[in-house]
C-alpha cells in the first residue's frame, strides 16, 4: 500500500487563457482508493483527463507505474481503465455488445472479451440483462454498464469520475461494494464525487481541489482534524470550510 503507483507532478492546463489546473501535484499509492473532491469547475475532470492520456498537459507530467503519460501514453493505457462522468455507451446496442467491443479495443480477443464481459456484467449485477439494449436500461443500470466497461481490461488503475451521479441508493450501494471488492483484488482507484459521505466511507485518502489548485490532501480523519475533533466534524463541513459557501454555477 505504501508503494507509489501514480505521481502527478506540477500539472498545468489552460483553455483559451483560462487556467483549469494550476500546478497540481499528488501521488496515489498502490491498492489505494484516492478521492478527488472539489466544487464544479474545480479542475477535477481536467486532471483526470490528463492522467488518462486524453488531454496533453501544458506543463508537468504524470507517471503511472513508472510510465510517463507524455512519453509512454501507450504503456499507460495498458494499465488504466476510465469510467467517465458522462455515460459513454452505445445505447442502441446491448450491454454485452458494448462490453465486448470495448474489450476488443482494450486488446482482448473475441473469446476473451466475451468471457470478461460476462464476468463484469455479473460483477455489476446485470448478467440477466446482457442481451437487452442499453437504451432500455434505467439510469442506475446504465451507470453500472458504464463501470463494467471500464473494467474490461482488468486495469491496475481505475479512474471513476462521479460514478454515482443521479442513481438510486441501491445502485449506488452496489457500486460502492463493487469498488471495494476491486480494491480487495488489488486495483488502485481514483474516485471523484460530490457526495461527501461517499468519499468518507470509501476513500483511504482525499485531495480537495478548488480553482484549479490542490488545497488539501490527507485521510478523511486528517482533513476533519483541520477544523475540529474528527469524531464530531463531517467531511462536508471540512469541504465547505476549505472551498467556501459561495455558489459556483
Amino acid at each position: 500500500m505504501n508503494e507509489e503507483f501514480l505521481a502527478a507532478k506540477e500539472l498545468r492546463k489552460a483553455f483559451n487563457g483560462n487556467v483549469a489546473v494550476d500546478v497540481v501535484s499528488f501521488s496515489i499509492m498502490r491498492k489505494e482508493i484516492f478521492g478527488l473532491l472539489g466544487p464544479n469547475g474545480a479542475g477535477k475532470t481536467t486532471t483526470i483527463r490528463m492522467m488518462a492520456t486524453v488531454l496533453p498537459p501544458d506543463g508537468g507530467d504524470v507517471m503511472v507505474d513508472g510510465h510517463s503519460v507524455l512519453r509512454h501514453a501507450g504503456e499507460v493505457r495498458k494499465l488504466i481503465g476510465v469510467c467517465p462522468q458522462e455515460l459513454a455507451l452505445y445505447p442502441e446496442l446491448t450491454a454485452l455488445e458494448n462490453l465486448v467491443f470495448f474489450g476488443q479495443m482494450a486488446g482482448l480477443g473475441g473469446k476473451q472479451a466475451k468471457e470478461a464481459a460476462g464476468e463484469n456484467l455479473l460483477l455489476v449485477g446485470l448478467q440477466d440483462r446482457a442481451k437487452d439494449a442499453v437504451a432500455k436500461f434505467s439510469g442506475g443500470m446504465k451507470r453500472r454498464v458504464n463501470l463494467a466497461i471500464s473494467l474490461m481490461s482488468r486495469p491496475a488503475l481505475l479512474f471513476l469520475d462521479e460514478p454515482t451521479v443521479g442513481i438510486d441508493p441501491q445502485s449506488r450501494n452496489h457500486i460502492f461494494e463493487t469498488v471495494q471488492r476491486l480494491r480487495g483484488e488489488g486495483m488502485t482507484v481514483l474516485y471523484t464525487t460530490h457526495y461527501m459521505e461517499e468519499a468518507d466511507r470509501l476513500c483511504d485518502r482525499l485531495a480537495i481541489m478548488d480553482h484549479g489548485q490542490l488545497i488539501a490532501v490527507g485521510t478523511p480523519r486528517e482533513l476533519k482534524a483541520q477544523i475540529g475533533q474528527p469524531e464530531k466534524v463531517t467531511l462536508e463541513e471540512v469541504f465547505l470550510s476549505l472551498t467556501g459557501r459561495r455558489l459556483r454555477d
Binding site: 486524453v54 501507450g74 467491443f101 466497461i149
Partner: protein, 395 residues
C-alpha cells in the same frame, strides 16, 4: 491489427440496428427502385404513338404507314409538317417521323432512301422506340421492293409459273433482309441527345445508385461527432486503440455501409429491372467499391472538420446535392456545354458514366480506367486530408 476491422463490423452492426439509418439508406432507395420499376419496367407491352408526316404520298409511303399501324401497341397519327413542327415546339410531342418527297420512287428505283426523325431532346424513350420500329419497317419494305424488282426483271416473260415466281420473290425478300441492297437510313434532326443513344432508364438506375452511395457521405461525416456526442470517443482514446486504427476503422465502416447499399440496390436492379448480367453485376460492384471509398473518405473530411452534428449534416447534404444534381442523375448533363463542364467536377458524372456502361452498355470495368482512377485518386486525397484533420479534431 484487427481493431479497425472490429470497429467497422461494430459500426455496421450499429447501422443495422438503427432503423432510421436503415430506412434512410436502404428502404428508401428500394422504394424508389420499385417506383421506377412501375414506371419503366413493370409493363412489358409497348404503347406509343408514331407521329408521321407523309410528304411523299406514294405507294411505299402508304405501305409504311399501314405497316406501322399494324404494330401492336403503336398508334399512328398523320400530321402535316407545320402541325408537327408546332407540336414539337410546344413539346406536346417529342418525335415526328417525316417521309420525304420521292421516298417511294427512290425505293422503286433501288436508290438509298432516308426517313427523317425530328425530335426534342433525346426524343424520350417512346420516341426512340418508335424511331427504331420505323427504321425496321422501312428496311423491310425496302427489302420487299428490292425482291420484287429482282423477280420482275429476271423472271417476267419467262415460262416460269406465277407461284414459283412468288416463291422466288419471297426467298429474295429474306435474302434482301439479311443483305439489303437498298440503304435505308434514319436522319435525326433537332437536338441530338446522348451520343450513345441509350435509354433514360439506363442512366437513371446508375444515377440513383450513385446518389444513394453519395448519401454515405452524410453517415460517414457524422461518425466522429456522434462518438464525441456519446462520450465514447474519449473513452476509446483511453484504450489501446491508436488514432490510426480508429481512423482506419471509421473509414472501413463507411465503405462497408456504402457497399451494403450497393449490393442491395444492384441486386434489386439485376433481379427486378433485369439490368445487366452476372458479370456486369460484379464489375459494377467493383466500381461501386471505388465510389464507396471516395465518398467514405470525403465524409471523413467533413466529419473531421465539423464540430457539431448539424454542421456535419448540412455540409454533407450540400455536397451530396451538388454532386447529384450537377452530376447528371436526373438529366443528361451533356445537353448544354455549361452543364457538361460543370458535371465534370462532380464524382457522379464519372461514376454514372462508368456504371451505365457496365450495367447497360455492354462495356467492362476495364473500359473505365480513367473513371476508376479518378475515384481512387479522390479517395486517397480525401483520406490524406481527413487523417490530418482527424488528428487536430480528436485531440
Amino acid at each position: 491489427m484487427l481493431r479497425p476491422v472490429h470497429i467497422a463490423l461494430f459500426e455496421v452492426r450499429r447501422y443495422i440496428v438503427d432503423r432510421g439509418d436503415l430506412a434512410f439508406s436502404l428502404a428508401l432507395p428500394m422504394a424508389l427502385f420499385a417506383l421506377m420499376y412501375g414506371v419503366f419496367g413493370g409493363d412489358e407491352t409497348f404503347n406509343g404513338t408514331a407521329n408521321v408526316v407523309d410528304l411523299d404520298g406514294g405507294p411505299a409511303a402508304q405501305e409504311f404507314v399501314s405497316r406501322l399501324e399494324s404494330v401492336d401497341g403503336l398508334q399512328v397519327r398523320l400530321r402535316s409538317l407545320d402541325e408537327a413542327d408546332r407540336a414539337l415546339a410546344r413539346t406536346s410531342i417529342l418525335t415526328a417521323i417525316v417521309i420525304p418527297p420521292g421516298f417511294s420512287d427512290a425505293l422503286a428505283a433501288g436508290e438509298p432512301v432516308k426517313l427523317t426523325v425530328k425530335q426534342r431532346g433525346t426524343g424520350g424513350d417512346e420516341g426512340q422506340i418508335v424511331s427504331s420500329i420505323a427504321l425496321s419497317v422501312a428496311q423491310r419494305i425496302a427489302a420487299e421492293v428490292q425482291a420484287r424488282r429482282w423477280a420482275r426483271t429476271t423472271m417476267e416473260g419467262s415460262a416460269i409459273p406465277q407461284p414459283e415466281i412468288d416463291q422466288a420473290a419471297q426467298a429474295a425478300v429474306t435474302q434482301a433482309d439479311a443483305d439489303p441492297a437498298v440503304d435505308v437510313a434514319v436522319v435525326v434532326e433537332g437536338e441530338s441527345g446522348r451520343a450513345d443513344g441509350g435509354q433514360f432508364v439506363d442512366r437513371l438506375l446508375p444515377g440513383i445508385l450513385v446518389m444513394f452511395l453519395m448519401f454515405a457521405v452524410t453517415l460517414s461525416s457524422q461518425v466522429i461527432v456522434d462518438e464525441r456526442r456519446l462520450g465514447t470517443l474519449e473513452r476509446l482514446l483511453t484504450t489501446r486503440l491508436t488514432l490510426n486504427q480508429l481512423f482506419a476503422g471509421k473509414f472501413l465502416a463507411g465503405v462497408a455501409r456504402a457497399m451494403l447499399q450497393a449490393v442491395v440496390l444492384l441486386a434489386l436492379a439485376y433481379a427486378v429491372l433485369r439490368v445487366g448480367g452476372p458479370s456486369s453485376f460484379f464489375q459494377a460492384l467493383a466500381f461501386a467499391l471505388l465510389v464507396a471509398a471516395a465518398v467514405g473518405a470525403i465524409g471523413l473530411v467533413i466529419g473531421a472538420a465539423a464540430r457539431t452534428r448539424e454542421q456535419a449534416t448540412w455540409a454533407a447534404v450540400f455536397f451530396t446535392m451538388f454532386m447529384t444534381i450537377f452530376g447528371g442523375t436526373f438529366f443528361d448533363p451533356s445537353e448544354t456545354k455549361a452543364l457538361d463542364v460543370l458535371s465534370h467536377v462532380t464524382l457522379n458524372r464519372y461514376a454514372i458514366d462508368a456504371l451505365e456502361g457496365i450495367t447497360s452498355g455492354g462495356k467492362s470495368f476495364a473500359d473505365y480506367g480513367v473513371q476508376a482512377g479518378i475515384m481512387a485518386g479522390v479517395a486517397v486525397a480525401a483520406l490524406t486530408v481527413a487523417r490530418w484533420a482527424f488528428r487536430r479534431t480528436v485531440k
